[in-house]
Amino acid sequence: MSIDESTAKRVAKLARIQVAPERLPALAAEFNTILGFIEQLSEVDVDGVEPMTSVTPQRLKRRVDEVTDGSQQEAVLTNAPDAREGFFAVPKVVE
């Protein structure tokens, strides 16, 4: 599996990271190095093996479905780069 510049560009877009066009060839090369390393996994016989979902066998705990926390609007907004009137503010999303 080899990644070309257009794939690198598509991945950067999916990851929402701006990459300058002149950086794409080097980025694609780095991806290929890493994927080449990962490629060893294709040697392993994984027939009939379950993919791991939890490293320690445990059942997620259940609790009563009730509000245990909340009313912390001020604390939640404290670190926002732009907060107005009790909301997070972002550039226009819909025209």
Binding site: I17, M52, N79
Partner: protein, 494 residues
Amino acid sequence: MSELNKLTLAEARDALRKGDVTSVELTDACLSEIDAAGALNAFVHHTPEIARDQAAAADARIKAGDAPAMCGLPIGIKDLFCTKGVPSQAGSRILEGFLPQYESTITQNLFDAGAVMLGKLNMDEFAMGSSNETSVYGNAVNPWRRGNDDTALTPGGSSGGSASAVAADLCLAATGTDTGGSIRQPAAFVGITGIKPTYGRCSRWGVVAFASSLDQAGPMTKSVRDGAIMLEAMCSHDPKDSTSADLPVPNFEAMLTGDIKGKKIGIPKEYRMDGMPDEIETLWAEGTAMLRDAGAEIVDISLPHTKYALPAYYVIAPAEASSNLARYDGVRYGHRAKLDQGDGITEMYEKTRAEGFGAEVQRRVMIGTYVLSAGFYDAYYNRARKVRTLIKRDFEDVFAQGVDAILTPATPSAAFGLGEASDDPVEMYLNDVFTVTVNMAGLPGIAVPAGQDAQGLPLGLQLIGRPWEEGDLLNTAYALEARAGFVAKPSKWW
């Protein structure tokens, strides 16, 4: 008492309880060492006011006869832990200015046990790195040097600041986190003890997430006994972390008898790597002999899928990271890029993340995005999770044969020079070749300083234990520590 900063946790605790020293004195001794150690770049956010307040409160508790395990002991906290009102940046530009409104469970547990926080410690950005060279704060520096050569060496990573600070006696101990070796590799590079507990022992709540199925916090200390004391204070069942284990936390220190007669120690043949330096090979053989002398039975074992642990890790960890780091979008906290006229929300995300994340983090987020993307999910991500099942099964088979612990080298080399590693990211990844299997299988592991190379740099051995049996593992490490007799300290140049 002279040089209070050089005390171990156990020594300081005993001196505090006897009234030979106060926490304020201990804390002041550490604070002045920190001030004089800027060259190490270990502490990146200083909290002397908090430290002095906590120390005074600890002294009052001790006087009142209420001295819990860590009462009055000054420690450093890795920048990955959210500490209320104190910068917690995970070594990243994207969290510049972020002030957590809550306290991580582990730091809360430590404070409840009376610990004193001196400040926050340098680390690789989002814990992604093995040399502390990806940090927004710049490199942390190893207090050790190669003989008289003044080349700056890495303290390892990602918990490089923690390792440097403890080895240089800037604090009595420090917290670290370990996703693929980030406690054990730096501990080995600076000649201290580092413990990664069983997955689920330490709450992940309030610890900035890298790869949630692998991340575990643990102590980095000057001795195995200190590791036992601090680990117990860190562990708890936490309803705020759904993977936190609801199991009683034993008194680990009480389990340190040093008696390992009849224990079965496995030596895995797959850890004998091509091109491994003779010094590491020799150290491993010496460690094996020490455990045999202590009465343990040494058995050769096989962990056949070892070589696939690193490649599987470099699918799973980036995949989880790409998901976890999606939250850094310039909306709720941290950095937001300045936008140009006409930029919409997508440009805001893309510019913010390009400016806020360093090169290695960007690389891993994008690799993770790729292996999770439509058409590749099965070939990469699912295959890696199946290989992970096999890696864990290897360990289960060995434990089923009665093996109590496994002895391996901690790292494939001694500390290397800052900037000496090649530009090939995969070469840097190989640093974790002996440690990453343990995270993949969720097991407890401990790095113990065991010797020095020809240039005088520390070398460590790793012991891997059965799940939830940290107490037994610590006792084996204690026996190894006693026989290795590692007492060397870096000579002060900073």
